[in-house]
Symmetry: C2
Subunit: 222 residues, 2 copies
């Protein structure tokens, strides 16, 4: 085989491997969401992904590793445009408007039916599989809070907000925006949306108003 | 049998019935929490309560009815002293202090390990047993919010707060107080407390501060 052909064939192998890996993750996500963690076997995953069981094990050492990958892949996938806006937040020149826009996106993102189902599954399995729920919490809510804390720290330094404890402020911000719809959705496992987009926006807007009222720089108004 | 003796024996029967009912509810709560809803049978409940299966069915028509009773009994049990304070809230002469005191109690109450376990179970089973989670949501969070809305409505009328939509304000109040510790506890199913009493009080106090800042009567401070 010429070296050019060998390179082509190597690239084709890598493409095939990547596709198989994605197929396994998709199959696993589907199964975990619908049958729970305990109810899903590596055999089921292999069958649904149409790969051999060996391929599943080659890519993911065991079921817990596979599940962790499903969670972190799901939590981590934020579009490039959103990521750019998030990175620019500390330099915002209009904190109220940018926070309002971000909060609407954040709430809509968390309220996607597949993510709600994952959240219910993880909470329900937290006692039997403590590592999974903790991994999810660390890669989901805690990551978000850490990001928000960076913004509030920057804004406090620029005297746009008064958040002497940025992590604490970030926690209140996160749950102010999410909690009303999210807690209802934990109890109402339905495929039809519980809230319209306009309702979600209204909850999110009021949350931002509350947050800004509580963390405004003293003596400054709106 | 003389009528006095008949009355005594009737009272003894009622006492025995009431004790059996409580024993069944206690056994059912224990089993549901540790084995989940699907994993618990009426036979298990009868065995643990040391009563016949017929007695279980005579008291509770079926498993769902029994579970509903466990939830609502658990949610409803508030001591007389607390109930008196709750009833007096609309007439509060020191809204900030009374709200702070109540919020501390509310958070500590929700964070009890057995209640956290019940909450995780219900969320985890919400897809398979939608009625159960909805019953719990209606008798738990929605009842609390309805109660808080009565206070905020009274306080708005007395111009102590500005809550034109008392139910909306009540929802934010509820989740501001509960969310940070409660969401962490959903992911961390541990029997050791995740937070000290002092930490819970601090979360609750800051939540009340945020709430009052956001819903203060315009032009009034502190």
């Amino acid at each position: 085989m010429s070296s050019a052909l060998a390179t082509q064939s190597g690239a084709a192998d890598r493409g095939r491997s990547a596709r198989k890996r994605i197929a396994i993750l998709d199959a696993a996500r589907d199964l975990f969401l619908h049958k729970g963690y305990a109810g899903t076997s590596m055999d089921d995953v292999a069958a649904r992904a149409a790969v051999s069981k060996q391929t599943v094990y080659k890519n993911f050492a065991d079921k817990q590793r596979l599940f962790t990958e499903v969670i972190t892949t799901d939590v981590g996938r934020v579009g490039a445009a959103t990521q750019a806006r998030i990175s620019a937040m500390p330099d915002s020149t209009n904190v109220a408007a940018d926070l309002k826009e971000f909060a609407r996106w954040h709430l809509a993102d968390v309220m996607q039916p597949a993510r709600l189902r994952l959240r219910r599954t993880l909470i329900g399995e937290a006692e039997r599989f403590p590592e999974l729920a903790r991994t999810w919490y660390a890669s989901g809510p805690e990551q978000s809070v850490a990001e928000f804390a960076r913004w509030f720290s920057a804004w406090d330094a620029r005297r746009l907000l008064r958040t002497p404890d940025p992590v604490l402020a970030a926690q209140y911000f996160n749950w102010l925006v999410l909690s009303i719809p999210l807690n209802k959705a934990m109890a109402y496992a339905t495929d039809e949306p519980l809230f319209t987009a306009a309702e979600l926006d209204a909850y999110s807007d009021e949350a931002v108003r509350i947050f800004l009222a509580a963390y405004a720089v003293p003596g400054e108004t709106g």
